[in-house]
Amino acid sequence: MRKLAGLCLGLGLAGLAAFWLLTRPASLSPQTLAAFAVYSADAQRGEAVFWAAGCAGCHAAPGLEMDASAEDRMRLGGGTRFETPFGTFRAPNVSMHPTQGIGAWSFQEFARAVMLGVSPEGQHYYPAFPYASYVLARPGDIADLWAFWQTLPAVDTPSEPHDLGFPFTLRRGLGLWKLLNLPSGFVLADSDDQQVMRGRYLVEGLGHCAECHTSRDGFGGLRRENWLSGAANPSGRGRIPTLPPQGWSGLDITAYLQSGFTPEFDVVGGAMADVVASISRLPSEDRNAIAAYLLAFRSSPSR
């Protein structure tokens, strides 16, 4: 009997140890660090990364008007609420404020947060922060983004805590989620078409389109086999549509991302309105690349 108890205890401890090892927050890889070491960052290029990655969509003040200025969208005091099946997430202050925001972070802490979803204190972030897409970002883009971030204002709005139910309050478990859900590469296969490859990077990586446009399993992982095939609205009623919408041409897609007008001249709404507010600030070649990717993806064997 005592032997059995000892065996159980041993197995339990081994299980705990395995859990602890598997769920360790990752550090930046030597390859990423090496890429940073030789890269010369540029704040102006970083602004394009900022709009492509949609940072303002979550971290700018809630309820900005559609015609809010770029300056207003660069005030990253947070506060937007996201109601999900796991609880309510609140976008934190990520402005340059040294105490309320992230102004005191080092570049490597920023890069680890964005690319790996790990805080400077070594805690996992919840995947409401779309690092499962940003993991595909090029190190140089993250360096440019951080250079641009230095030019943004400090906002003193305090971050509010998330409101989640047990067991989702245990962040360590997110290490397992990451093991299962962080992608090791792109969905659409490599091709020689540079425009499609640029679009793939924007859609699957920085733009994190799949975070809403792909359905999720019971643990909140993307069903990559249903890539961009539409999903239930992650925070509210209704459905997020399939991409690209049936019958849309490349011009229809780029016009929508630039102006918010659908081919029927309905006007964008919901969370997508904030997406258009960011994507419309990219160079037109990037919107063309997004359209080229979406059309190529629909006619590819990857779909």
């Binding site: 309820g63 015609d67 009623r237 309905d266 006007v267 919901g270």
Partner: protein
Amino acid sequence: MFRRIALIATVAVGSVVAVAQAQEQTDPNVVARQSLMRLNAYNIGVLGSMAQGRMEYDAARASAAATSLYHLSLVDQSRMWPPGSDTSSIENTRALPALWDNMDDVMMRGMALRTAAEDMMNAAGTDLASLQGAIGALGASCGGCHRAYRQPD
């Protein structure tokens, strides 16, 4: 003028029938507001197509569309949004319950559409650059409501 009214009336009736058939929406108040949205889109379609270069700029046509849109913004909507006609109460609407909780904001946004439509009415017949200068604010006034009060598909 008469021809324009006749055109609007024809399109209005056509949209009502189309909406009623496609979505089996039977509440006349909801049918009316959805028809009004379609008529807005119908006219914005002319302006937006010209702004995007999909349709050749034609001052008379642009002006007619903008004038129609402005008059649509004057339509009395007081019976079109009865309580209990939101997404959680009936089928085939995308109007979120939040709309009824924020009526003052909704009314203000309705006025913003009217102002943007009036500006467009004054700009559309001048030249293409003026039309293009007014289309952003017009789209933003639509989006201001859609962003907060309309659910995704």
